[in-house]
């Protein structure tokens, strides 16, 4: 609480197509000092506006601002405190809109605005899940605008109405689920739930079948064989490295995104290496998708802070 006294926050409204996009600017005690640390822009996590799940990005923005960073929590049109509204429809369609780069042009406009305000500062974008996708797509489309990307739990697949089409279940995901089932094998409660049909019996059978029959075959799959892979994202992901844009990837050990990423981008686009020129992967042990526990949040912040220091310190 004590640091909030030194933090200043104000609303930045940017007119875009006759509406206002808004962001919260967070600065520390000396924001106007030239040549300082970069600008960090936090994006909404899917449809959850830019405060982030459990206010994750509010905390990160305030912590970074204390070290001289200027941070923005940016809401595109239709999200959070900005004007506009997204189209009504099944929620996976709204997610698909984001996964296909629906917020990229609005964010681009916003970055232009911010760059004019602080021309001497570099720009880093940070997003979780859908936000990470927006950040990567933008960074490759406009490499001159972005100096670095922090992506938290990138999802390589498009969202579908079902949790995932059967054909796209990755082997790491299947193994992970099977591990959880195995852990419950001596649990009376679990068996009671199963026999009283409270469990997702079809889902369990499907995972069991995939584990038993297709394990070996699946290991050989190339990227093109995944039916629902976000190929434009894969292109942008590789392109970012060629563009020389610094990219920190954070994954939660227990997020499905990490399993999906391992078998797709990690294997095929990174040669299964956690560090490469301009790329760095860090996995937060035990963490879930939205980093709900304090220790996971702090661990992730620690990685972010050190990466920023290494790559963007002046």
């Amino acid at each position: 609480m004590s640091h909030t006294v030194r933090i200043r926050e104000k609303v930045l409204s940017v007119a875009y197509r006759a509406q206002y996009m808004r962001a919260i600017e967070t600065t520390g005690p000396e924001p106007e000092k030239p040549g300082d640390a970069p600008i960090v822009i936090f994006l909404p996590a899917g449809l959850k506006y830019s405060v982030g799940p459990g206010r994750l990005f509010v905390r990160y923005a305030r912590k970074l601002a204390l070290n001289g960073f200027i941070c923005y929590r940016f809401d595109p049109l239709g999200i959070g405190i900005s004007d506009g509204s997204l189209e009504a429809g099944p929620v996976h369609k709204a997610w698909n809109f984001i996964e296909k780069g629906g917020f990229v042009e609005e964010l681009t406009f916003f970055i232009h605005h911010v760059r004019k305000k602080y021309p001497e500062r570099k720009v880093v974008i940070c997003g979780l899940c859908g936000g990470a996708i927006t950040a990567i797509l933008l960074a490759h489309r406009y490499p001159e605008l972005v100096d670095g990307v922090i992506s938290i739990n990138i999802e390589p697949f498009f969202s579908t109405a079902l949790s995932r089409t059967t054909g796209d279940k990755t082997i790491t995901h299947i193994n992970s689920v099977m591990k959880n089932y195995t852990a419950k094998i001596f649990s009376g409660t679990a068996w009671r739930r199963l026999f009283s049909l409270q469990s997702d019996v079809r889902g369990i059978l499907r995972i069991g079948m995939l584990f038993l029959t297709q394990n070996r075959k699946r290991k050989k799959r190339g990227l093109q064989e995944f039916k629902n892979l976000n190929h434009p994202l894969a292109t942008a992901f590789s392109g970012m490295q060629q563009d020389g844009t610094e990219h920190l990837m954070l994954f939660s050990e227990h997020s499905r995104c990490w399993h999906d990423f391992q078998e797709t981008f990690f294997t095929h686009l990174m040669d299964s290496k956690t560090t490469a020129p301009f790329q760095e992967i860090r996995v937060i042990d035990q963490a879930n998708h939205e980093l709900q526990f304090e220790e996971w949040r702090m661990k992730a912040f620690d990685y972010i802070e050190k990466w920023l220091q290494r790559n963007f310190s002046t």
């Binding site: 609480m1 909030t4 933090i7 926050e9 104000k10 609303v11 409204s13 006759a18 509406q19 206002y20 808004r22 919260i24 449809l47 959850k48 506006y49 405060v51 799940p53 459990g54 206010r55 994750l56 509010v58 905390r59 929590r73 239709g78 999200i79 959070g80 405190i81 900005s82 004007d83 506009g84 509204s85 997204l86 189209e87 009504a88 429809g89 099944p90 929620v91 369609k93 709204a94 591990k179 959880n180 852990a183 419950k184 050990e253 227990h254 035990q286 963490a287 879930n288 939205e290 980093l291 709900q292 526990f293 304090e294 949040r297």
Partner: protein, 268 residues
């Protein structure tokens, strides 16, 4: 787009900046204040409430929406007890209502636990009308649901519950904070909810309150004699709407049936 909109910070009595949006409408029109739900529900709600805010602003109401201390874009690191949220609501209402719009009507709209807070504020401020959307009528069930978010996080990562509800409560009593969907709450927060139990509602002029429940939702009206909504005599209506305070399978940024029914109650 909503013209005449102020989107800024205002400092509360404890010196903490609160984020708020205010649309100034016709001076003769009432002031409507939105009361957010708590924790992650407030986050899910935001896109929808901004839409409702604009809907009312376009009808020339004066509309205010704000984030509680320790919530949304407001200052403060952790959620504050509900009685402090009430203090901030009363404080903001006084600033925007009595000072600038003296003699005008005051309407409150509370979503989920926001209704419980708004109901107290209605008594204290003598607000003219109050709308509630799916209020918290069973505090025990609500607390259980809040704690469940912590247990689910444990289950999804460890495959088992390492710290059960009793142990979580013991941690709170030992002065620690626990995480509920990423929000670090303390014992004072949990205990403060009890002060907003709808069973304690007495002496309200029932015609001033309208409650909207989600058709097919968990809250039913009139089945149990002990149901505080039944006892209160408030007008309750079930309508078709998505539970926009939670993750839904269908995304609907505008809830036209809800807006329409609310409009009819506010401005018959």
């Amino acid at each position: 787009m909503c013209e005449n909109q102020l989107c800024d910070y205002v400092t509360n009595r404890r010196g903490v900046p609160l984020f708020h949006q205010f649309a100034s409408g016709d001076e003769s029109r009432p002031l409507v204040i939105f009361c957010n739900p708590l924790l992650e529900e407030a986050l899910f709600c935001r896109n929808h409430l901004t839409g409702w805010f604009r809907h009312l602003a376009n009808k020339n109401y004066n509309v205010l929406i704000f984030d509680y201390q320790g919530s949304g874009n407001s200052g403060g690191e952790h959620p504050v007890p509900a009685n402090r949220m009430l203090e901030d609501l009363i404080d903001l209402a006084s600033r925007y209502w009595r000072k600038h719009h003296a003699g005008q009507q005051l309407f409150l709209i509370g979503i989920r636990f926001g209704f419980n807070i708004a109901l107290k504020a209605t008594e204290l401020l003598h607000a003219d009308k109050l709308i509630g959307v799916e209020p918290i009528i069973d505090l025990d069930r609500y607390r259980t649901a809040l704690f469940r978010t912590n247990l689910i996080a444990q289950l999804s990562t460890s495959g088992k519950i390492v710290t059960d509800r009793k142990q979580l409560m013991a941690e709170l009593e030992a002065g620690k904070r626990i995480s509920l969907s990423g929000h670090e709450i303390d014992l004072e927060f949990i205990r403060s909810l009890d002060d907003f139990d709808l069973r304690n509602v007495t002496g309200m002029e029932t015609g001033r309150v309208k409650i909207f429940l989600r058709a097919g939702g968990k809250i039913s009206f009139g089945k149990k004699r002990k149901n505080p909504l039944r006892k209160s005599g408030f007008a309750c209506t079930s309508i078709e709407m998505e539970p926009f305070w939670a993750e839904t399978k269908y995304y609907s940024p505008a809830h036209s049936i809800l807006y329409c029914q609310a409009d009819r109650f506010l401005d018959p």
